[in-house]
Symmetry: C2
Subunit: 335 residues, 2 copies
């Protein structure tokens, strides 16, 4: 197992201690078990709190986006596993600044069940919550059953949009509406070239043949919709963009945010090669990319592969994307 | 070959086009061949220019550090190969703002030979240059022949220090002296767990057994000094820090910059697990980490592994590290 760790069962604990040692000035844990991560600085009274939660193994998702302009708190689960409802509840309580809390997270069974319980529980104490589920992965379910789709890298755009809306001191319903608009306008697809290894398992959780790729694979190795011979970068992007555009129906004059996300082991050089093809595809149709995001935003340990997210923009969404943000893994200084 | 590209021979060309499409507002190519990358904005007259050069396959090194507060220009070579003297010359000429140019680059034969020629050539036209070679990799040669050592991830600290010194409008000799001080105070070591694949070769360039790691391996796969069974994260860091400290001789009260750099396929989670051990090792000896850098700063395609760089600080170096910088791959907003 080609990995750096101590005991497999301490993987998440040791990672969280690393987070604390590395980013102690910006972040703090609310609990002794280090599963409830908060911004070190206090949010202004009356700001909507924004929290997320999810399993570990996807850094920078989820906890890497806690910070100014994005999330107020994150509940940390074990590798690929939902954190508990109780820890989510602690996170929500810590992030209620008097205007309610938006729970913005990926559409996975465990996370949904636990957030439901946590929201019910804080509701008894009068803390208002709204849940917005990220379902950007278009290959995880057909359009007719889009409510079953999983959340992948596009959630980072949703964090950014909701964070900027909350910083404008909008009420909970408006912050939730901004996140929902971002999600309505966004689609993602992933392509995996190789599996990842969970430290407690010690071997790859599935196999992809040496000359094959899997289109539509999820960030936990959920099977894709198509296994095929490895395509060129240009063909890969064309396949993904055509699928995305069947639903987004982009046309001349549209502006889009593009995220080319590495799943773990794919060199930055190759994300740029993929971005080149995406840029050309869009520009040849009169569609203009805005603030491209290229790098590792939502990974699956050391999986080789990439995902593409496209979000159709309007002036409101552009304003939110442009707003300043500063977290350990995401900085926007209004370049 | 689990990679995204089009033709192997177009790998660097396509990557450079991706750079242009992605960062067109911040960066520009000076040449039609897209090998001379410059900041899009003009530097103030009288500022020392800072340039580097090197082979591709190490992103964000080298070109990712062109931008405000760091480099003015970078000459781009093919994968793991030095760019030509002629392209270096074009870069130096474009980055002479009237106060001379610092050529700050890794100690590799081809880069050194070509920079020598380029500097001689621009010298005929009265452009003053200084060459400072990065030699931070302590396992690449013993201390007695330290002049033979290679440059690895520590060069990013050197770019940052030199960039901040140049922004203070110091003269060439002082900017070079600041970079040299950073380099004198810094040591790095890498540990590889798996090899990388060059697109034109199509298979791993060397083999590391499934249960082994290679300590001291270079970022082009240069052999290390020790192959051993995979150590725990804690043992790995202890081995590296003890070696580094044989030369840096750190003691109670010292402050250090620490860079925990992923070589390509190592998850961020594991860099944090490694950082945890480094932090504990340092703190238990009364040595204080300052502005930790954790992530991918200098890679070797999809190699699994990490490198550790430690730089002993004084007030001058701290000031330079703290100074603002904004490049496509490095942002410091004085958090």
């Amino acid at each position: 197992m080609k990995k750096f760790f101590n005991n497999p069962s301490d993987y998440v604990k040791d990672m969280c201690e690393g987070i604390e040692y590395a980013f102690g000035g910006q972040l703090r844990f609310a609990d002794r078990e280090k599963r409830v991560l908060l911004r070190a600085s206090h949010a202004p009274k009356g700001k909507v709190g924004i929290v997320t939660a999810g399993g570990s193994g996807h850094l920078p998702v989820f906890l890497g986006y806690v910070g100014a302009g994005m999330l107020d708190g994150c509940t940390i689960g074990n590798i690929f596993a939902s954190p508990s409802a109780q820890k989510m509840e602690e996170t929500i309580r810590a992030c209620d600044f008097g205007a309610g809390v938006l729970c913005l997270y990926g559409n996975y069974g465990g996370d949904r069940m636990n957030f439901e319980m946590a929201c019910e529980s804080v509701g008894f104490d009068g803390i208002e919550t709204r849940q917005v589920l990220v379902r950007d992965d278009i290959f995880s379910s057909p359009q007719e059953t889009a409510e079953k789709r999983r959340g992948v890298a596009g959630m980072v755009f949703a964090f950014k949009v909701a964070g900027a809306a909350a910083d404008q001191m909008l009420p909970l319903a408006s912050v939730a509406a901004a996140a929902e608009k971002a999600l309505r306008n966004m689609r993602s697809i992933g392509v995996a070239l190789s599996p990842c290894i969970l430290p407690e398992v010690g071997k790859p959780s599935f196999i992809i043949a040496d000359d094959e790729m899997e289109i539509g694979m999820g960030i936990h190795g959920e099977p894709g919709i198509q296994t095929c011979k490895i395509l060129s970068a240009e063909e890969t992007i064309q396949t993904l963009l055509e699928k995305i555009n069947e639903e987004l129906c982009l046309g001349e004059g549209d502006e889009v945010a593009v995220m080319l996300n590495g799943l773990g082991a794919t060199p930055m050089e190759e994300l740029l090669i993929l971005y080149r093809s995406a840029f050309k595809w869009l520009m040849s149709r009169g569609i203009k990319p805005f603030m491209p995001h290229i790098g590792e935003f939502a990974t699956s340990m050391e999986m080789a592969g990439a995902s593409l997210t496209v979000m159709k923009l309007d002036e409101e969404l552009k304003t939110y994307l442009r707003a300043p943000a500063c977290t350990p893994f995401y900085t926007n200084v209004n370049k």
